[in-house]
């Protein structure tokens, strides 16, 4: 086990990256960010861990079979929010019907948070899936190894 400094750095950075992802997720209304960016940051934390400690250890925490579920669940949350508003008589993704009596547009905030949660989940799962597919490939034999 070499590269001690790199491993310690990765272990130190892992939790703050996830915290930053949550910050971007929930602060998306007021600053730069949102579900897509938060999903990418969340996936990048696990990609960093997989780079430093090997793909197997990362796949033990998040098995590859979970990722398609995560992607589909994210899209389901997004589309489900839209259909939910349809059921209450609004347009697709018409958030105002979630809290119709509110003068402060609380329905808008609730709806956007739900939708962003779905986007974040789908994007994080997709990014991690791309990395698993990319990194799990067997290396090509070198030219002089035949």
């Amino acid at each position: 086990m070499g590269h001690l400094i790199l491993r310690v750095t990765i272990k130190t950075l892992f939790a703050p990256i996830i915290l930053f992802a949550l910050y971007v997720q929930f602060h998306g209304d007021y600053g730069p960010g949102g579900g897509f960016q938060a999903g990418v940051i969340l996936a990048s934390a696990f990609i960093l861990h997989a780079l430093g400690f090997g793909l197997d250890r990362c796949q033990r925490v998040i098995p590859p079979s979970w990722l398609p579920v995560g992607m589909a669940l994210g899209v389901l949350i997004y589309a489900g929010t839209g259909v939910y508003t349809l059921l209450f008589g609004g347009n697709f993704l018409d958030y105002d019907v979630i809290q119709p009596d509110s003068h402060h547009h609380a329905g808008q905030h609730i709806g956007i948070i739900a939708v962003e949660l779905g986007v974040g989940l789908a994007v994080a799962a997709t990014m991690l899936q791309i990395y698993y597919a990319f990194a799990g490939r067997e290396p090509e034999p070198m030219d002089d190894s035949w």
Binding site: L6, I17, Q37, L51, G52, G54, P139, P141
Partner: protein, 98 residues
Amino acid sequence: MYLTAGIAIIVAMALMLARAIVGPTVYDRVLAVNSFGTKTVLLLGVLGFLTGRPAFLDIALLYALINFIATIAILKFFRYGRLTGVMSDENPAREELR
């Protein structure tokens, strides 16, 4: 003051880009790209204060993070020939292929 700092950073970025293009070995290029990323973070910070939008600091922080991960990924790929394995002192990719 921020404008001067921004121009100085852009000049430094041009120098880094020249090193990345000219650089004789892959490590020169990786180092140049890494330094370019660091300068980009600085430029984002300066630009945020120049335009009065401190929210740019979030983007700068994120850029620093992605830059760090990308550098580790590139270095690991060139050292071991693949991204899968556990990093060790010897070179497992070449051992297996022998």
